[in-house]
Every structure is written in structure tokens, then in C-alpha cells.
Amino acid sequence: MPTIVSVDDSTVPGEGSSRLLLLVSSDNKHIVVEEDIMSRSRFISKQVEGFEATSQRHAILLPFSSFVLNKVIEYCSHYRGYYLLEDDPDAAPPGRSPVREWDQEFLDVDRNMLLRIIKAAHYLEIKSLVGSCARAIADMIRGKTTEEMREILGVENDFTPEEEHSPSSKCTG
């Protein structure tokens, strides 16, 4: 049950008429952010549409930490007002998302953080950020052996010996 908090219709001084949103992270940090910064997120946009339909605005609870949330807000602030094709709900999805230099630097973080960001971006439905993270992860696993891959992804080999030697992966080389 989301906490009903009152968010009045005040606007940020000097920043036009953008309304504010209250986001609550899993570590219970309250973060106030302008609505149009977060409009890149389909998830947030749908929430806001819901507010307008019910004329009731409440805090949006998110299942990830403030550390990750702040990183996502940093991303959205950077692209505030920019048109990115991947984030346009009406545009046909591009075959392959473009490489953006700023994103590469922005995502130069450790592996766990990268995985947390992509998960958050997926939850918030920010396609451009999911795409950039996916590219960063793909770069990370390129040219790695299965053993190295387990190390990078932090997964355990849970195959039985028979399964491991089955010809399920018939293509090598």
C-alpha cells in the first residue's frame, strides 16, 4: 500500500512549470525530482497519467537503492529535453541502439553497479539506458571463456556432469 503523501502543485523557482515527484528508494530515502526529468521513464509517465486521472498524487516506491536511483536520475538529467529514438513510445524500435560516448563514460562503473543500473532502467522502462547498459555488458563478456564468464557474472556451475558434456552447444570455434 503506497504511502499517501501530499505533493502540492508547487513549481520549482526559475525552472518553468515542471511539477515535482517524490520517489522513495528501497533504503527508504525520499528523493524529490522534477517530473519532466523523469518523463523518459515509461513507468513514471504511466504513474503520472494515473495521478492525473485520479487527481491524487502520491510517492512512487521503487525497489532499488537510492545509490542506484541517483545514478538513473543523473542519466535522465543529462538527457533532459533530448529526443532519443529508443525512448519514443510511438517510434518503431531501432534495430540497434547507437553508441553514445557520454553513456560509455557514465557506465564506466563496477560490474555489480552496472547490473543494478540495467535492472533499474528495465523496471523504469528507460529503453535507451537499458540499451547502453546491455552494450556495456556485452563488451564485458566478449571473447570470454565459459569459466571466465562464470567469474564475471558470479554464477555457479549447476550442471550435472552428463549435462555438461551433452551436445547442446554444437557450435564451437
Binding site: H122, A138, V155, G173
Partner: protein, 524 residues
């Protein structure tokens, strides 16, 4: 505790894998059960892996083409059909009868000319697309709206028809001229500058085409030949190589050419790769006077290169609309060289050396020239035994009735007749490294496709130890269809065989070099 990565939603994984290469996908699939389940459960990832394993590229996608699941199904059937050599019923091309000897073009197309001594207003050559059921490519043919000379190269992907002829029909001069025309309109190609750097030569021969580049040989006296690489869109000349004899020459890629010594001129290296553009340079850049490296790849010393002959599969692509659901990677090519070695091979006196073209690129990539040395000699033992296959050529009598194109991509066919002459078999060899790897894996798991994995022939003669090679290839032999066998026995019919991307084309001729009387294909 579940690790972080495994708590990612499935579609995020698929998004990551879709931009990864197939090796990374397979390595991930083998890490644990959850990832394995995601990879095997996704049609798009399975299709991606299958394309890589079969050595194919994805065709264009639009509302008229099949979806991913259908492509995957067809691709698996296509691969199995090549493994089992399961051909369709024959397709005939009656409109090609009475034409001149056909030439195979890229992507399962062929060109058939009218005899050059026919009437002036004879119809132009026909470009024939050979159909493929599984790739979804339909039979299609079109006439070029022009009558042309014998030399020509076609790049359907760019709608280019290149030919050599006199500057104009009225011109009394013997000077020749290379022209690039649009296949569909017959007019000068809109991107062509229509300047031929060899136009002042007495005789020019059109050799090869690769994207923007044309390779031509020209001579004044038929003794000294200039090999010229030029850009047909800008008119700029990239390189001129002078040889005192006529060689065979092909593009290796957009930066290199391969010259093979088919002239019997002993002083020339048998295989020489010449770089004509430096890395990253655009076609307008001059190389700035920097000497670009060339590599001479030597053959075993015991081989006599005097009667060397080489052929190479083509790289050019069909037009976008004829690529089908998937198509062969045009960079997969095979060179096959035949050399004389009567001391080793008793029957035909010939040895065959099959070399995947990628061998040269990967050797050069891993052995850059050291300072100041741009003319690099690579001894046979440094490159050959592990990346080529030496075999005994079939006896000459096997070949006497047959002509044609024996390689397509990394596949090659060999026709053999039984000693009593009553039956003929066709062997398809496949050198594709991933298809070979998959066949090896299948064999290890006891699956029997009726194929054998061949390495080089065992040539143990003293002094010929150099001829032991290790490059594996898949081999499958089938008898010829009965109707063909009957035809072989009938008098006067010379059979031409052309291997193409989707099957084998048989051509019946009357007499050598004469008109086609019948032409049909067994395709996939």
C-alpha cells in the same frame, strides 16, 4: 542466495545477447542452467547462433519476408539438406537453350550470353537467378537491354554491368575501353565516372570487381602487362603492378589483391598478396608514398609450379531483393590450385591445394611487417600445412567430359567416374570451419550423417613430407541422378557442372565451347 545477474529479467538478457557475438552467447549458455534455459528458449538467439554455425548471414527483413521462427526452421532444414545432399526435383531453364556457355555469378545467379557472332541486334545477355526453396529466392531472369562483348563482370548489389569493348561501335580503332553500365537501364551507370585508366592500352582484360574497385590488366605488346586497381566511382588509380607475363589476379578484400602465378613463369612467386590501400584510408586518400606490404606465400619446394592453375570463388553479392531469408557470407571463399607433381601422383600427375581465402587475411593480421621490410616471404611450413589441404587430383579421364565451376563459397565439388565408366559420383567438400567443428562434434556424439571428415591425403613419398596437411573438411559423396547418368553415356553430350550457393547446375552442350542445349539445376 541467487546471484545478482540471475535476478535480471529475461528480456534484459536477450537484449544483451542480441548485441553479443555467438561465441559469447554459447559461453554464457554453458555457464549455468538458468542462462542455458534463457538462450535455448529464445528464437532470436537460437537463430543468431544457427546463422553463425552455418556460416550464413541474415537477409533483409520487411513485411514480405518470413519471421524469425520461420527463418530458423528453414535455416536448419537448409543446413541439413547440404549435409545430406538432399536436392529438390530438377528445375529447368529452357529459355537459356541456344545461348553461349554460361558463367556463374554471385549468390546463385548466372549469366548466359548470345553467341558473339550472332546478328547485331541480338538480345543482350540474360542474368538468371537460380531459385532456392528454403532461402525463399524465386526463379527470376532478366535481359540486359544492350548487346555486349565477351568480357564482363556483374555486381547485382550495385546494379553494375561492367564490360570491355571498343570505345564505340563506329570506332575503327583497336583501342579498348571498360564501361560500367546499369544493368536495369543499359545506360552508363549513374555513379560511374566513365574514365578507364587502361583505355590507351592496346588490349585490356577485365579481371575482378570489389565494391568501388575494378581490377584490370592492360598491355601494349602482350608481353608486359600492367595490373591496375582503380576506383570506378572516383576514377582514381590505386595501384599499378607491372608483370612481364600474364598472371591470375583477384581481389582478396577492399585493401588487397592476390596474384597467382598461373603463367608458368618460374621467377614469379606462386601466391602473392599485395596491399593497395592502407588501413582506414578512404578511397580518395593517396598512400602518401608509404610502401605498403606485400606477402609472398610459398608452396612446398617439391612442387613444380610450372603448370599451376588456380580458381577462386566469387565475392560479389546479389541484389538486395534476391538475398532471401539468409545468404552465404560473401567473404567465405576458397582458392583451389592444381599443380603438376608427376613424381608423387601416378594417375593424373596433378596435386590439388585447397586454401580458404581467410587464411591469408589472418596470417597477415597476425604477422605485421617489421620495420623497413615490406616485401615479406612466407615459407610454406609457416602457413601451409595447418591451413590448406593437399590432395591427389582425380585422374584426367574423370575430367575429360566435364567443365564448369567447381567452387562456391567454401564448398567444392569433385566428379569421379568408376573405372568401368558406368557410374559417376559427386563429392561435395566443405571447408567452413564452424560447419566442420559442428560435424566433428556430431561425430563425437555418435551421430552418423554419412559424412566423413577428411584431412590432407597421405602422401608419403620420400622427399615429399612437406605435402602433409592438417586442415579438415567435410566430405559427402552421392551418385549422380539416373537421368544424368544416362545422358553422360549418350554420344556427343558434354556436361558442364557448376556449383552454386544453393545446389548444382548441369549444362548439356554439343561439342566443346558450343551452345547450350539443355540446362537444369538441383537445388535446395
Amino acid at each position: 542466495m541467487t546471484t545478482l545477474i540471475l535476478r535480471l529479467p529475461e528480456d534484459v538478457f536477450i537484449e544483451i545477447f542480441e548485441i553479443s557475438d555467438y561465441r559469447a552467447i554459447l559461453a554464457c549458455q554453458a555457464t549455468c542452467r538458468s542462462l542455458s534455459k534463457i538462450v535455448t528458449g529464445s528464437v532470436s538467439l537460437q537463430y543468431k547462433i544457427e546463422l553463425a554455425a552455418c556460416g550464413m548471414l541474415d537477409g533483409p527483413r520487411n513485411e514480405h519476408t518470413a519471421g524469425m521462427a520461420e527463418r530458423l526452421r528453414r535455416l536448419r532444414l537448409y543446413d541439413a539438406a547440404w549435409r545430406q545432399l538432399k536436392w529438390t526435383a530438377k528445375t529447368s531453364f529452357p529459355h537459356l537453350a541456344d545461348r553461349f556457355w554460361p558463367a556463374i555469378e554471385a549468390g546463385g545467379a548466372l549469366v548466359a550470353h548470345m553467341p558473339s557472332n550472332s546478328a547485331v541486334d541480338a538480345p543482350g545477355p540474360i542474368l538468371q537467378q537460380i531459385p532456392s526453396q528454403l532461402r525463399g529466392v524465386e526463379e527470376h531472369h532478366m535481359n540486359a537491354p544492350m548487346s555486349v562483348t565477351s568480357e564482363n563482370l556483374i555486381d547485382s548489389s550495385q546494379d553494375v554491368f561492367t564490360s570491355v569493348g571498343r570505345a564505340s561501335a563506329e570506332s575503327p580503332s583497336l583501342f579498348w575501353h571498360c564501361r560500367l553500365r546499369s544493368w536495369s537501364t543499359g545506360q552508363v551507370h549513374p555513379l560511374s565516372r566513365d574514365v578507364d585508366p587502361c583505355a590507351h592500352m592496346r588490349l585490356i582484360v577485365l579481371i575482378d570487381m570489389y565494391g568501388d574497385f575494378i581490377l584490370e590488366a592492360g598491355t601494349h605488346d602482350q608481353k608486359v602487362w600492367d595490373y591496375v586497381v582503380w576506383n570506378w566511382k572516383t576514377g582514381s588509380v590505386e595501384t599499378v603492378q607491372t608483370r612481364h607475363t600474364y598472371c591470375t589476379c583477384h581481389f582478396l578484400d577492399e585493401r588487397r589483391i592476390l596474384m597467382t602465378n598461373d603463367s608458368g613463369f618460374g621467377a614469379l612467386p606462386p601466391l602473392r598478396v599485395i596491399t593497395f590501400r592502407s588501413t582506414g584510408s578512404t578511397s580518395n586518400d593517396s598512400t602518401g608514398g608509404v610502401e605498403l606490404p606485400s606477402y609472398s606465400f610459398q608452396l612446398p619446394e617439391c612442387i613444380n609450379v610450372e603448370h599451376m592453375r588456380s580458381t577462386i570463388s566469387t565475392t560479389r553479392q546479389p541484389a538486395l531483393s534476391r538475398l532471401g531469408h539468409f545468404y552465404r557470407d560473401p567473404n567465405d571463399r576458397l582458392i583451389t590450385i592444381s599443380v603438376s607433381a608427376p613424381e608423387v601422383v601416378s594417375r593424373s600427375g596433378q596435386l590439388c591445394i585447397d586454401i580458404p581465402v581467410q587464411t591469408f587475411q589472418s596470417y597477415i593480421a597476425t604477422h605485421p611487417p617489421s620495420d623497413g621490410h615490406t616485401d615479406i616471404v612466407v615459407p610454406w611450413n609457416a602457413w601451409g600445412p595447418s591451413s590448406s589441404r593437399v590432395s591427389r587430383a582425380p585422374a584426367l579421364s574423370d575430367f575429360s567430359w566435364i567443365r564448369g565451376t567447381f567452387t562456391a563459397g567454401l564448398r567444392k565439388i569433385i566428379m569421379r567416374r568408376s573405372t568401368d565408366g558406368s557410374t559417376t559420383t559427386m563429392t561435395v567438400l566443405d571447408y567452413h570451419p564452424r560447419r566442420v567443428a559442428r560435424a566433428l562434434s556430431r561425430q563425437r556424439h555418435g551421430e552418423d550423417d554419412g559424412i566423413t571428415i577428411l584431412r590432407g591425403d597421405d602422401i608419403t613419398a620420400v622427399g615429399f613430407e612437406d605435402l602433409q596437411t592438417t586442415l579438415p573438411c567435410i566430405a559427402k559423396t552421392i551418385p549422380l541422378p539416373e537421368e544424368l547418368e544416362a545422358m553422360l553415356l549418350s554420344e556427343g553430350a558434354i556436361l558442364g557442372v557448376h556449383l552454386c550457393d544453393d545446389g548444382v547446375l548441369f549444362v548439356k552442350h554439343i561439342g566443346y565451347g558450343a551452345w547450350v542445349t539443355d540446362l537444369w539445376a538441383y537445388t535446395i
